[in-house]
C-alpha cells in the first residue's frame, strides 16, 4: 500500500514537473530549446579540438573528454535542476511551504520532479554522443567496452547524481537570493573539479583531494575506461579495473550517505532560519 502510494505521488509530481518544464512552448520549440545548449557545448569542444589538431601532442585523449562531457549533462540537468526546483517553488510560484506541509512531502515531490530532469538529461547526453559519433567523428572501438562494469558504473553515477541533487536542494533552501548564483556556480565548479574535460592530475595538488571525494570524478574516469577502453588520469590508470570500480562504488555510496545527512541538516537549518517562505527575488 505504502509503496503504491509513494509511486502515485512520484508520478504526480513528475507529471507536474513536466508541465512546468514544457508548457511554455509548442513541442517543436521546446525540442529546439532542449537540444540547443548540449549541441552548442559539443560543437565548442569539437572546435577547440579542431583548432589544435595539428599542434596538440595528446589529441587522442579528446574522445574521453567528449564522452565525459556528454554524461555531465546529468549533473547539469538533474543535480542543478533539482536545486532550481526549490528556488522556483519558493521565489517564483511561492508554493514551497504548501508542498512542504502536504502529505506528499518535499522529498517525494523533489524525487518526482527529478525524474523529468533525468529524462531531459538522458536526451541531452544521447544527443551529444550521437552528434559526436555521426558528425564529429568521436568514435570508439566497442570491442574494448566492458558492459557489466559500465552498467554498474552508470547505476552508481545516477545514484550519486540524485544524492548531489538533494544536497543542492538543501543549499537552495538555506540560501535566498544568492541561491541562483550558487547553483549556477556549482554547475561550473563540478565541471572543473571533476575533471570532465581534462585529467584531474592537471589540477593543483592542493585541490586534488577535493576532486577525489567527489563521486563524479570517479564516475567519469570509469565511463572512459569501461566504454572507450582507456581512462585519462595517470594516477587512476595505476588501478586495476576491479579497484577502480570498487573505489567508484565506495565513493558513490559514501557520498550518498553524507548527502542524505547533509540534506536533513540543511532542511532543519532552513526551517530554523525561516527560509521556506522567504521570498527575495520577485
Amino acid at each position: 500500500m505504502a509503496v503504491s502510494e509513494t509511486f502515485t505521488r512520484l508520478r504526480t509530481s513528475a507529471w507536474l514537473g513536466w508541465q512546468v518544464e514544457s508548457n511554455w512552448a509548442d513541442p517543436v520549440v521546446f525540442f529546439i530549446y532542449l537540444i540547443a545548449r548540449p549541441l552548442a557545448v559539443s560543437l565548442t569542444l569539437a572546435a577547440m579540438y579542431a583548432a589544435t589538431r595539428d599542434s596538440a601532442t595528446h589529441g587522442a585523449a579528446f574522445a574521453g573528454f567528449y564522452v565525459a562531457n556528454a554524461f555531465h549533462a546529468y549533473v547539469n540537468t538533474v543535480v542543478v535542476g533539482m536545486g532550481w526546483v526549490i528556488f522556483e517553488e519558493r521565489e517564483e510560484s511561492e508554493m514551497l511551504k504548501y508542498v512542504y506541509v502536504s502529505p506528499m512531502g518535499l522529498v517525494t515531490y523533489i524525487g518526482g520532479r527529478s525524474f523529468v530532469r533525468f529524462v531531459l538529461g538522458s536526451i541531452s547526453a544521447a544527443l551529444m554522443l550521437l552528434v559526436g559519433w555521426f558528425l564529429l567523428g568521436v568514435r570508439w572501438d566497442f570491442a574494448l567496452t566492458r558492459p557489466l562494469p559500465l552498467a554498474l558504473t552508470i547505476v552508481a553515477g545516477f545514484a550519486a547524481t540524485l544524492a548531489a541533487g538533494y544536497v543542492l536542494c538543501g543549499v537552495a533552501m538555506v540560501l535566498t537570493r544568492s541561491a541562483m548564483t550558487v547553483l549556477e556556480g556549482c554547475m561550473l565548479g563540478l565541471y572543473l573539479l571533476c575533471g570532465v574535460i581534462f585529467p584531474v592530475d592537471l589540477m593543483p595538488v592542493w585541490l586534488r583531494p577535493v576532486s577525489y571525494v567527489l563521486p563524479f570524478t570517479w564516475w567519469y574516469e570509469c565511463l572512459r575506461r569501461f566504454l572507450l577502453g582507456h581512462g585519462s588520469s595517470a594516477w587512476m590508470s595505476t588501478l586495476t579495473d576491479a579497484q577502480l570500480l570498487g573505489a567508484t562504488l565506495a565513493v558513490c555510496a559514501a557520498f550518498s550517505l553524507v548527502a542524505a545527512l547533509a540534506y536533513r541538516e540543511l532542511d532543519r537549518l532552513a526551517r530554523r532560519l525561516g527560509r521556506l517562505d522567504q521570498t527575495t527575488m520577485f
Binding site: A25, R37, L45, M48
Partner: protein, 275 residues
C-alpha cells in the same frame, strides 16, 4: 507643460544614474553572493584552459580561452542583467512603475547597463587575476587606448543588444526567459569564445555578422595577442563594425521598446505575472 531638451536630457541622466545606483548597491549587498558571482563564472574558463593543456596545445590557445572567458562575464550580464531584468521586474510587480515614471525607458535601461557593467568588472578582474597569476598568460605589448576603444565599443554593442532583448519581456514571459537560457552556450560557440573563430571558416564570418560578441572577442584578441592571433578582419574594421552595431541596436531597441510596449498594453500583458 512640455519639457525643454535640456530638461529631458537632465531627466535621462538622473533616471539612468538612479537605476545604476540600485544595480550597483544590489550587486554588492550580499557578500556570499558577491563572492560566488565573482568566482564561479570563471571556473568554466579554467576548465577550458585545462582542456587545452591536457591536449598538449600551444600556450597561445590558453591565452585566447582566457580572454574569451573574461568576456563571458559580460555576455552573462547582458543576458540576465539586462535582457531578463524586465522579467524579474514583471514578476515583482514593479514593471508598471517604470511605465508610470516620467522618464524614458531607455534611461532606465541605460542605467541598468552602466550599473551592470561596473558590477561585471569585479568578475572580470578575478578572471584577469587568474590569467596573470595562475595561467601566466603572455600578452604582446599593446596600446591601452586601442584596448579601451575596442572594449567600450564591444560593450556598447552588447548592452544595446541587451536592451532589445529586454524589450521582448514587455510582451513575453517564460518564452523569452527560456530563450535567454538557450542563448548562453550557442552564443559561446558562435562567438568563438574558447577557440579561434577562424576555425569555423565561413560560418564564423556569418556569426560575426550576427553577434557583436564574435567581433569583440576577435578584436580584443588581436589587440592583446598581436600576430599570434590572426583575426577575421583588421582591428579597425572590427571596431567600426562594433560601433555600427551599437548605433543600429540602439535605434532598434528604441523602436522595439515603443512598439512592444503598445502591443503589450493592448493585449493586457504588461502586468501579467506567471505567463
Amino acid at each position: 507643460m512640455s519639457r525643454t531638451l535640456a530638461g529631458e536630457a537632465m531627466l535621462f541622466v538622473r533616471a539612468a544614474r538612479a537605476r545604476a545606483y540600485v544595480r550597483i548597491v544590489g550587486s554588492f549587498r550580499e557578500p556570499n553572493g558577491l563572492l560566488a558571482d565573482a568566482v564561479f563564472p570563471n571556473l568554466g574558463m579554467c576548465a577550458f584552459v585545462m582542456m587545452y593543456r591536457a591536449l598538449g596545445a600551444p600556450a597561445y590557445y590558453e591565452a585566447l580561452a582566457v580572454i574569451g572567458g573574461i568576456l563571458t562575464t559580460y555576455w552573462v550580464n547582458v543576458l540576465w542583467g539586462m535582457g531578463a531584468q524586465f522579467y524579474w521586474e514583471k514578476q515583482a510587480g514593479q514593471l508598471q512603475l517604470y511605465f508610470a515614471a516620467p522618464c524614458s525607458r531607455m534611461a532606465i535601461l541605460a542605467g541598468m547597463a552602466a550599473g551592470g557593467l561596473l558590477a561585471s568588472m569585479l568578475r572580470s578582474l578575478v578572471g584577469v587575476a587568474l590569467a596573470v597569476f595562475v595561467f601566466r598568460v603572455q600578452l604582446e605589448p599593446f596600446s591601452p587606448w586601442h584596448l579601451a576603444a575596442v572594449f567600450f565599443a564591444t560593450m556598447a554593442a552588447l548592452y544595446t543588444l541587451g536592451m532589445i532583448m529586454a524589450s521582448l519581456f514587455l510582451l513575453y514571459g517564460r518564452e523569452a526567459w527560456h530563450t535567454c537560457n538557450a542563448f548562453m552556450e550557442p552564443a559561446f560557440f558562435l562567438s568563438g569564445l574558447y577557440f579561434p573563430i577562424r576555425t569555423l571558416g565561413a560560418f564564423g564570418a556569418v556569426a560575426a555578422a550576427l553577434l557583436p560578441l564574435t567581433l569583440g572577442v576577435d578584436a580584443l584578441r588581436q589587440v592583446l595577442l598581436g600576430v599570434r592571433s590572426p583575426g577575421l578582419m583588421p582591428v579597425r574594421w572590427e571596431f567600426a563594425a562594433l560601433c555600427g552595431f551599437a548605433v543600429l541596436y540602439f535605434f532598434v531597441a528604441r523602436w522595439s521598446l515603443r512598439h512592444l510596449e503598445n502591443l503589450s498594453k493592448r493585449e493586457g500583458r504588461l502586468t501579467q505575472r506567471w505567463q
